[in-house]
Amino acid sequence: MITFRLDERSGVPTYLQLIEQVRSAVRYGMLRPGDQLPTARDVVAQLAINPNTVLKAYRELERGGVVKSFPGRGTFVTDEAPRPVARAVHEPLRRALRRWIADARRAGLDRDAIADLLGLGLRDAFEEEIA
């Protein structure tokens, strides 16, 4: 089971934050096919958010084939959900990233500056691909 958290300052709509957290949990194997998502009622009670927001996020995830809702039973990750990235693949990358972040901090960059730099790097990499 995953626990949602919200970043109010991110400017990202709440339902999109929920969707992204489920996708990320599936991508990195924290949620596997057959696993249950928290009930809408639990998410509402935990985060103090509008119930329709949770329902909307779950509906979108269902439309994307990541989860399926069974009335009265709950919402579960489907067998068709994207395969998780293998540990052997993401763990070394994560370690490398941690080293890179440590370097950036040593160079005097704060969290915002590091996030900016990551964003710029991503943009450079992916926009080059499109162009």
Partner: protein
């Protein structure tokens, strides 16, 4: 769709002051509504008229099709109201407070009211005067929930609460509204809290409705634009400016658009989706400017 709340051309004058000025909007049943506006905008007056604590000078407010001016008992049987001051008897225990709720209300779900109090970790034996502000707010809300209202009216429910108490109150409110499917109208200055909890927005500026509608649709219809001043005509040709701040080298505007509008890129023109806070501020600034101009 049935309407939970309808203000029809409501005007309220206190002496020469117009607290409400031809105020018209409606709220579909099942919505959680954020009613925002500066102090003195008429929010409290409007809620008071809805439950018959005040009579309008003109117009009417209907709750599920009934106006308090005509049948106050029917309205009160459907409405749970928590006033800004959250009035409770200080000398009563929490249990006695709920007992009072039972005796004062024709319809009363004692187990339900008690459950919300207990969920909040408040003991029935505790005296109201020994409770923290946050606990009092939760008792006041539980008292309103005990009626099993179809419509909850909450006047500044977050006022004076610290962040933890705020969260606890909103948790109770959201859980209760999920369970009961009650319509909720709350007034607040806390835009972040409204963004989290509400799906419908009403902006009241000095007695007039500036904007009312589904929050997602409303936000989706607005953009935030910054550009060099020479772009102002271009902006006006594609959108309606709600509010603009003009500096020597830059105009920053909150605009309303209909449908998908294409914007030229580059040259300092930046267009991005509006967020709720800047949208509310823009409408309130506009309302103030119009008032000053009068």
């Amino acid at each position: 769709m049935s309407l939970a709340f309808e203000a029809i051309d409501v005007t309220k004058k206190f002496g020469r002051v117009r607290a409400l000025d031809a105020c018209t909007f409606s709220v579909p049943a099942g919505r959680i509504v954020g009613l925002v506006g500066p102090n003195g905008a008429g929010k409290t007056t409007l809620l008071h008229i809805a439950i018959g604590l005040n009579a309008p000078t003109a117009g009417r407010v209907e709750v599920f099709g009934t106006s308090a001016a005509e049948d106050v008992l029917t309205v009160l049987s459907r409405v749970g109201f928590v006033a800004q001051e959250r009035p409770l008897y200080r000398g009563f225990t929490v249990g006695e407070t709920l007992e009072l709720g039972r005796r004062l209300n024709a319809r009363w779900d004692a187990a339900y009211a008690r459950r919300w109090v207990e969920n909040a970790g408040i003991a029935l034996e505790q005296r109201v005067e020994t409770l923290s502000g946050g606990e009092r707010a939760q008792v006041a809300l539980s008292l309103a929930l005990g009626k099993r209202p179809a419509l909850l009216l909450l006047d500044e429910p977050l006022g004076g609460l610290d962040p933890l108490a705020r969260r606890a109150l909103l948790q109770e409110l959201m859980s209760a509204s999920t369970e009961s499917e009650a319509t909720v109208i709350l007034t607040s200055h806390e835009i972040a809290a409204i963004e989290r909890t509400c799906d419908y927005l009403v902006i009241l500026g000095r007695g007039r409705v500036e904007l009312a509608g589904d929050i997602e649709a409303v936000v989706g219809a607005h953009l935030s634009i910054t550009a060099p001043p020479r772009y102002e005509d271009l902006i006006k040709s594609r959108a309606t400016i709600v509010d603009a701040q003009r500096a020597e080298r830059q105009i920053s505007a909150l605009v309303r658009v209909s449908g998908d509008v294409q914007w030229p890129t580059g040259n300092g023109l930046e267009v991005r989706p509006a967020n709720l806070e800047e949208l509310v501020l823009a409408y309130l600034r506009r309302a103030r400017a119009e008032r000053t101009a009068k």
